[in-house]
């Protein structure tokens, strides 16, 4: 058994209308890699949140740009890399919000990042001036029953 699978990519326009296509693509890939339905739902939601952030913050709702979603396996990791060419935002600003404080002051926004971290095993950002932005989401693959 090889430790890495072929990466499969999908490119969509940077519109909220693309979110349903993105969810369908990621759900199909997660199922192919053997995740149970509750984990498929968690992965799909995390990717939706990452793409929504790109549409809102990196592209500021400009719908004529592109988002690339690449899915593959690296060892025990199911990896989703989401890339865009928009504005990069400061990863330091993406710290966990104080949830109770956030909710009691009825603040919207920021919850997507919190959800991504709750739902996935790893969330990493790669922002370099002049280069594409990448968000890497990882979920550990379910243990193989044959082992």
């Amino acid at each position: 058994m090889s430790s890495a699978s072929k990466t499969i990519s999908k490119i969509v326009s940077s519109s909220t209308e693309s979110l349903s296509d993105i969810r369908e693509f990621v759900a199909g890939q997660a199922r192919t890699h053997g995740f149970p339905e509750d984990e498929v739902a968690n992965i799909v939601l995390a990717v939706d949140e990452a793409c929504t952030n790109i549409i809102k913050h990196a592209y500021r709702f400009a719908s004529d740009k592109q988002i690339e979603i690449s899915v593959g396996r690296q060892g025990r990791e199911f990896e989703v890399i989401i890339s865009d060419d928009g504005r990069s935002f400061d990863p330091a600003a993406l710290r966990n919000p104080d949830l109770k404080e956030h909710l009691t002051h009825y603040r919207r926004g920021g919850l997507g990042v919190y959800l991504m971290k709750k739902l996935m095993d790893t969330v990493e950002y790669q922002f370099q001036p002049g280069q594409r932005n990448h968000v890497r989401l990882v979920k550990f693959l379910p243990a193989s029953p044959s082992r």
């Binding site: 939706d48 929504t52 109770k100 009825y106």
Partner: protein
Amino acid sequence: MTEFKVQERPGEGVSILDLRGYLDAHTATDLENAFQRLLGAKKFNIVVNCRDLSYISSAGLGVFMAYIEDVRKNNGDIKLTNMTPKVYNVFDLLGFPILYEIYKDESEAISKFQNTTKH
């Protein structure tokens, strides 16, 4: 194309919103419009029935956060009901049960409003 529908239905002393389908950053505006219509009509006792809601992301949850303050200032409330475990899980992860009343069945939320109004 994301399918989402919100329909208003009158109840006894309350307004009920039935949600159906996928509530995400694309469809959240439909729910915002529904809340705006209710607040414009001074309807502040709101039950949101999530029985047919298949999916919600933080963009959808943000809509509830945007209107709850105005609704409560007017002595009303937004009470949520009939969630599937999958949808409840998202509300729960974001701590919503601390601040929002969530009921298994719509009738519980309606009677809660009726009891509050009688006092």
